[in-house]
């Protein structure tokens, strides 16, 4: 049991990282608490499985899903969020309302039945090591999350675009004064966040299935990850994701009556004693 719980925890951690990395970047740069992020996750899953039903290979469907979600993200940012001009309350209400709309539309299009996503060919079985059986797909999810984490880290820390994003996070008005098109960066980051969330949604399909309410189940987990790890910290998102992955799975099995206490208590403690999160910085 412990072994399966550990594997499930690590897998959920990988998925949560894909979800929360974008959420953290968007909040860090744009100060937008994007409550549509869970919906992007669920929508990605539904879109991906629809593409697979059209006969596309799982991985091509995953890439197309990410691109479609990026386009949806840019549209939301440019047409809906930008006119609000940074008003946090309006952003919260708008993204919350949008998440309800996406939930209803998804229910209408994909019905209320859980949609099972087929495991990609070649990853259905298990691998044996030291007499232990490792489900291949879950290992692949963790591997992909780690590869994306490294890719994101390289992009943020080692490229001019990443330096511009960090400059925008540090001091957005000054970044504009030195000629950085911060509004274009907002679109790039929002698109990236939405793409990652959508991609994660499809990746979650073979493991969690896609069903109505998945959005509102995943969003609080992403919020806890970001609060625990610290906003705008990829390392914080990575570490926070795996902590929450373990707390969620072990908490539900070992203390089912206290599962949410175990999940939220660390967040409360962090907020009280280290409000910037484990790896965040006070601004």
């Amino acid at each position: 049991m412990w072994f399966i719980l550990t594997i499930n925890s690590v897998t959920l951690g990988g998925l949560l990282f894909l979800l929360s990395a974008g959420f953290s970047l968007i909040f860090g740069l744009m100060r937008i608490p994007n409550l549509t992020h869970g919906s992007f996750f669920m929508l990605g899953g539904y879109l991906g499985v629809t593409l697979i039903r059209f006969g596309l290979n799982f991985w091509i469907a995953a890439i197309l899903t990410a691109l479609i979600m990026a386009a949806i993200g840019v549209t939301v940012e440019r047409l809906l969020l930008r006119p609000l001009g940074g008003n946090a309350m309006q952003q919260v209400l708008l993204t919350l309302g949008l998440s309800f709309i996406i939930a209803d539309l998804s229910l209408m299009i994909w019905t209320g039945d859980p949609v099972r996503v087929p495991t990609p060919p070649g990853l259905e079985g298990t691998a044996s090591l030291f007499a232990l059986q490792f489900p291949l797909y879950r290992l692949a999810v963790v591997g992909i999350a780690v590869i994306i984490a490294v890719g994101l880290w390289l992009m943020i820390e080692r490229t001019r675009l990443g330096a511009m994003i960090r400059a925008g996070v540090d001091d957005a008005p000054m970044a504009r004064v030195v000629g950085i098109r911060v509004s274009a960066l907002f679109s790039v980051v929002f698109a990236l966040g939405a793409a990652l969330a959508g991609f994660a949604g499809l990746m979650a399909g073979p493991y969690l299935s896609i069903y109505p309410g998945l959005d509102s189940e995943m969003l609080p987990l992403a919020l806890i990850v970001v609060i625990l790890g610290g906003t705008n910290s990829l390392l914080g998102a990575l570490v926070g994701s795996f902590i929450i992955g373990f707390l969620f799975n072990f908490g539900q099995v070992l203390f089912p009556n206290l599962a949410y206490v175990i999940l939220f208590l660390p967040m409360l403690v962090i907020l009280m004693f280290r409000p910037q999160g484990l790896f965040g910085r006070l601004t």
């Binding site: 001019r160 330096a163 511009m164 960090r166 400059a167 996070v169 540090d170 001091d171 008005p173 000054m174 970044a175 504009r176 004064v177 030195v178 000629g179 950085i180 098109r181 911060v182 910085r281």
Partner: protein, 246 residues
């Protein structure tokens, strides 16, 4: 008569309903240094922030080499050729020295070779070359000021705005900063220098504008200030008149 590099024409700026600049007009000649003086709250930094597009004038116009920039955003104004060394330096603390410079560098239109590149900026400030991989937040105040100047220069501005570059620095560092300003002036760069210390400004500026409560109260050449023995200090309240013009 040299062309106006930067011209304020009857500029009114408000913070909400608070009227911060009252019909401010002055101009900076090409290749000249204009010293902008005034007490705290006189409107100096408001002038700088309005020039770079962080504030929008409610009335009046700001023109760069004859082209209006008062309705443009900060990114566009930067690309038109205005560089700012802001008050408090405001380097990007979580970026390295090199990254601070790289994010502000850009290609010039056409095939024009930029005067300021990463290498030429680091040549100008050898201290920064030793610290290219250090985070800007870990630099000393003087090093941060060099970085703020370098970051403004690497965009190859046609007009450089410097908002209190001596603030919070040791006298030796201030001397170095003003030596750099003198060098930039000798290279023909148009500069607006905001300072509270009139002695520093009058030594280097060609023209002086004094603001008081958001209005221009003196706009003269430095020579006129000397010749007419104009008492600049009564609008500043920090240095005696003799010190200010000596």
């Amino acid at each position: 008569m040299p062309a106006d590099a930067l011209r304020f024409s009857g500029v009114d700026v408000y913070y909400g309903e608070s009227h911060a600049l009252h019909g401010v007009s002055f101009s900076v000649g090409e290749g000249r240094v204009l010293g902008l003086l005034g007490r705290n709250g006189a409107g100096k930094t408001t002038c700088m922030n309005t020039t770079v597009g962080l504030l929008q004038p409610r009335r009046g116009d700001i023109a760069l080499f004859g082209e209006s920039i008062s309705r443009l955003g900060p990114e566009a104004i930067s690309r038109k050729g205005i560089g700012l060394v802001p008050q408090g330096r405001r380097v990007f603390k979580r970026l390295t020295v090199r990254e601070n410079l790289v994010v502000a560098s850009r290609r010039l239109p056409g095939r024009q070779a930029p005067k300021w590149t990463l290498d030429t900026v680091l040549d100008e400030f050898p201290r920064l070359r030793e610290r290219t991989s250090h985070y800007a937040g870990n630099l000393s105040g003087g090093e941060q000021q060099m970085l703020a100047i370098g970051r403004a220069l690497i965009s190859n501005p046609r007009v450089l705005l410097m908002d209190e570059p001596s603030e919070g620095l040791a006298p030796q560092i201030v001397a170095g900063v003003f030596a750099t300003i003198a060098k930039l002036k000798s290279q023909g760069l148009s500069i607006v220098l905001v300072e509270q210390n009139p002695k520093l400004v009058i030594d280097i500026a060609d023209d002086i504008v004094v603001l008081n409560s958001g209005s221009v109260v003196i706009a003269e050449t430095t020579r006129s200030i000397h010749e007419k023995n104009i008492d600049v200090s009564r609008y500043l309240g920090v240095v005696s008149a003799e010190d200010a013009v000596s």
